[in-house]
């Protein structure tokens, strides 16, 4: 058994910022970060566009209140406003702290941090590092973890949470290198495991975004909040799905249909291409349905629209958004200076997650907290994004709430003892689970089942939803779950066996998929990213509340949790 004061699962922005907060405050604490990739490979590294904060470097009229309003409006009024207030008030502070740490922000001519426009934000407040903001922040954070001697378990896969008598006591983890299983005991356990984009077949997310933390929490009997709110990013490069950052539209790119029209004029005349993501994604969806999409040969009626940069000119493209040009060039052989890029919505972000309070403590139910368990980042739901997240608010959430959660943990540790854990039981259980995966004869490849499941999720729980679609999806899901016990692995060893990991991840994906479908089916309204064709209106009377979904082998139970409204009364959301 391994002992630490604090064990953090996930080395992205949220996990590493929390770890840093703890060791900077109290260097005597033993803090460990475990990640199934090396932390520096975490999905956060791929964030491009930027991080929002009302620094007022370009727009003196900006304020944290304005940022808070944009965030709440963007959330379709489902965000908890106390959490949004903290997010936006602390934003400037955390960004300055990152700058002092060495993060390579882009600069204004006078040397201050540059800020750009972003979808749904009424002021230019997105700080950025060219189009590699996540990379710039994560690399600095991880190098600082080295500096402070945080123990890093890289390429260890966390299989389960040890939760006994309502107290989080530690983890069971698997070493990808050699198949070793270890129980880690800790005074505080934190989840920062990121999102679940791989539940769907087209996503901007990396391969590791499989919702493991969510499924581990669900299997431990903890609720998941607002899982029906899945963000589609309007501009995934067709057909691969990789992201063309919103910064590209922030810098002035157009969306055009087969007729060559800037169709956003129909859907969001005041914000045009910079409308929030849910609105822009649906607009593209409607254009495609109306036959104004484009085919690969340029004719109408196809599966994508164009993102057009041509009017911006080579110099601006190459200096402000070089990565976007490079992506289209590398993956499709397109020169965005002279050719438009094919795009369509791609699954991008999970608004829901493990419910936490504003101190980062995990909720065991609507009115209780789990002792010793914390969460932050994309895997958590605090909820600052409500039904739809604004671009560049997620990195901010990771840093603000990573820091806050780290601070909560640091304060709690002195009064906590290492819990008693009977490790043998957990080790045997994990060994059996892996052995049965290796031994099961099976006749499906992992990818066959995964691909079919992802296709079904995309078809039955996509941009546009309705009850009959989702019921079909749930029925099919049962079939895939039955197939799971019939998958086979080619690799029977325990030495860097990534098939074992893919099989475990597939289990996570299916649990998360089921939680999304059930939560979405029960929410009989349209709000933010959740668009029900059978219930096209927002329904504040019945659904201005958060979903809490509880998983069990027998099925999923849904209950609700009130929304905190402190500053802005819900209004109709128009752009």
């Amino acid at each position: 058994m391994i002992d630490h004061d604090v064990i953090i699962v996930g080395g992205g922005l949220a996990g590493s910022r929390a770890a840093l907060e703890i060791v900077r405050t109290d260097p005597t604490l033993s803090v460990a970060v475990v990640a199934k990739t090396h932390p520096i490979r975490s999905h956060s590294v791929a964030a491009q566009g930027g991080i929002a904060a009302a620094l007022k470097n370009v727009d003196p009229a900006d304020s944290w209140e304005a940022h808070a309003f944009d965030t709440v409006k963007g959330s379709d009024y489902l965000a908890d406003q106390d959490a949004v207030e903290i997010l936006t008030r602390e934003a400037a502070d955390v960004v300055i702290d990152l700058e002092h740490m060495g993060v390579l922000f882009s600069r204004l001519p006078d040397g201050r941090i540059a800020q750009r426009a972003f979808g749904g934000h009424a002021h230019n407040r997105t700080c950025y590092a060219a189009d590699k903001t996540g990379h710039a922040i994560l690399h600095e954070l991880i190098c600082n973890l080295m500096r402070y001697g945080v123990k890093i378990y890289d390429e260890w896969y966390v299989m389960r949470l040890i939760l006994e008598e309502g107290q989080a006591k530690g983890l069971v983890m698997y070493h990808i290198l050699d198949g070793q299983i270890q129980v880690v005991r800790a005074k505080a356990v934190m989840f920062a495991t990121g999102g679940y984009g791989r539940v769907f077949n087209t996503t901007s997310n990396d391969y590791a975004s499989t919702g493991d933390g969510l499924s581990i929490a669900a299997l431990a009997g903890l609720p998941l909040e607002d899982m029906e709110f899945v963000q589609f990013h309007p501009t995934g490069l067709y057909p691969v799905g990789v992201l063309i950052s919103e910064a590209v539209r922030g810098e002035g790119a157009y969306l055009i249909n087969s007729a060559g029209d800037r169709f956003m004029a129909t859907y969001a005349p005041s914000r045009m291409e910079l409308a929030p993501r849910d609105i822009t994604s649906r607009a593209i969806g409607r254009e495609l349905r109306a036959g104004r999409g484009i085919h690969s040969d340029g004719t109408a009626g196809g599966p994508f629209v164009y993102l057009d940069l041509r009017h911006m000119g080579r110099e601006k493209i190459m200096s402000r958004i070089p990565f976007c040009w490079e992506e289209a060039h590398r993956l499709l052989g397109i020169d965005a200076v002279t050719q438009p890029m094919p795009v369509r919505p791609t699954i991008h972000y999970s608004m829901g997650g493990i419910p936490v309070n504003t101190a980062g403590q995990v909720r065991g139910s609507s009115d209780s907290l789990v002792d010793g368990l914390y969460a932050a980042g994309e895997t958590a739901c605090v909820s600052v994004h409500g039904a739809n997240r604004l671009g560049s608010n997620s990195l901010l959430e990771c840093v603000v709430y990573g820091r806050r959660t780290g601070a909560t943990i640091t304060q709690a540790i002195p009064t906590r003892k290492l819990p008693n854990v009977d490790e043998s039981h957990y080790i045997t259980e994990a060994q059996q689970q892996l052995q049965s995966l290796l031994d099961q004869p099976g006749h499906y490849r992992i990818n066959q089942v995964r691909q079919a499941f992802q296709d079904a999720m995309t078809e039955f729980c996509g941009v546009f939803r309705n009850a009959s679609l989702m019921e079909t999806g749930l029925a099919q899901l049962q079939g895939f779950q039955a197939q799971y016990s019939q998958i086979y692995l080619d690799d029977k060893g325990k030495h860097w066996n990534t098939e074992i990991i893919e099989a475990l991840e597939l289990r996570s994906l299916m649990i998360v998929g089921q939680m999304i479908l059930e939560s979405a089916l029960q929410r009989q309204e349209s709000r933010g990213a959740h668009c029900r064709e059978d219930y096209p209106q927002r329904d504040d009377t019945n659904f201005l509340q958060h979903t809490l979904a509880y998983y069990s082998a027998a099925g999923i139970d849904i209950s609700y949790h009130p929304v905190t409204i402190t500053m802005f009364e819900p209004q109709e959301r128009k752009y």
Partner: protein
């Protein structure tokens, strides 16, 4: 997911030869794939893993050239599997082949050995792409290498901005776009290991921290916010572990997928170190700061200033110097640097040199940076 439907090209057959390794064995395994020219090498490896052979091990994550996971040797040189695509690889192979052929059979001359078969026409064959693990790191399995030394060496250069000795402002440190632009290149490193994998110096000198670490080191030296420049320059120029261990083989520059150009950054550190020394010799201590000032003023060594303060000092002919013009100055400056090794220099020679220096040090004769550079110059 990886590949759905078809992209923009035609489907073709390609043969992937993967150098595989287990705890006990090493072998070459061949996989035949139907792919399109636009598929990345990573798409192809996924196709192998998901449809043909689940036991093949490789790292991946972002599939978008930013996480640094997928470094491996593709057709002989280290690269990112998610960056290179089938079409470009085959074109590259073809151009290498044709260079080989034309070198063997110079134009207008009959083949030296008429019996020897010329390389078959590519179109007659199923094209082959060879995949192997990165070098300079122990193989764990298939394409997975143990990167521990890579991380340890990064850590060894203190890869974080230190502002301990500075008054930290309430707001951000000011950094002009020009200062910031000087960090673009080094700031783009994704720590993929491609440079480290090919590094000549790493091959012969286990103490050498590697191009990735030294590129990062220069980032620290050039960042106007860092206050440890002097200490860093000393640290980075110790023995052969730092900048003087580089043999200037150029491989890091040529394989780096992010254009970090580690060898150039090493050159920048050397310039700063030599500059520091020259000044220290002529006007002890008081003027050691000039260099740091220079770096801090502009984040790098301004060549004109450098020329005036350093070269001008040794030649005492300012006028003549100025008449050389910027180009001449630059050449003069470059001339001071150890240019002795080209890629062609044998690994053995490098090793013996490094050992000679290490012997000297072991005998208690500290090897100064300038002596070091002399050794290299002579080499």
């Amino acid at each position: 997911m990886g590949i759905k439907g078809t992209r923009w090209g035609c489907v073709m057959q390609v043969c992937f030869k993967v150098i595989r390794q287990s705890q006990t064995n090493a072998w070459v395994q061949t996989y035949l794939l139907d792919v399109e020219p636009s598929y990345t090498i990573l798409d192809c490896l996924n196709q192998i893993k998901w449809e043909q052979d689940g036991s093949l091990a490789f790292r991946k994550n972002c599939r978008n050239t930013i996480c640094g996971s997928c470094g491996m040797r593709i057709n002989g040189r280290s690269a990112l599997a998610c960056k290179e695509n089938v079409g470009a690889e085959l074109a590259r192979l073809q151009s290498i082949n044709s260079t080989v052929i034309s070198a063997e059979n110079p134009a207008n001359s009959a083949p030296l050995n008429p019996d020897r078969k010329s390389l078959p026409d590519a179109s007659e064959l199923i094209p082959e792409i060879t995949i192997a693990p990165m070098g300079n790191m122990p193989v764990i399995k298939d394409l997975i290498v143990d990167m521990q030394s890579f991380w340890d060496n990064l850590k060894a250069i203190d890869p974080y901005i230190s502002t301990r000795a500075r008054q930290v402002p309430e707001r951000e440190f000011l950094q002009t776009p020009e200062d910031r632009a000087r960090l673009d290149q080094t700031g783009n490193c994704i720590l993929c290991g491609a440079c480290y994998s090919e590094c000549n110096a790493r091959e012969v000198n286990p103490g050498f921290v590697g191009p990735h670490a030294l590129a990062k080191a220069y980032r620290m030296v050039a960042d106007t916010r860092d206050d440890q420049t002097e200490t860093r320059l000393q640290q980075y120029s110790q023995g052969t572990d730092g900048v003087w261990g580089c043999t200037r083989c150029l491989y890091c520059n040529s394989v780096c997928p992010m254009d970090v150009a580690p060898m150039d950054q090493i050159g920048n550190i050397k310039a700063a170190v030599l500059h520091q020394e020259t000044i220290a010799e002529s006007r002890p201590i008081r003027h050691r700061r000039v260099l740091i000032d220079l770096v801090k003023e502009g984040g790098w060594i301004d060549e004109r200033q450098f020329g005036l303060r350093v070269v001008g000092n040794s030649f005492r002919d300012l006028q003549g110097l100025v008449s050389l013009g910027p180009l001449g100055l630059r050449m003069l400056i470059r001339g001071k640097f150890p240019f002795g090794f080209e890629p062609s220099v044998g690994v053995e020679a490098v090793r013996s040199l490094i050992e000679a220096v290490q012997d000297l040090e072991a005998q208690g004769n500290p090897v100064s940076d300038s002596l070091m550079s002399e050794v290299f110059l002579k080499g």
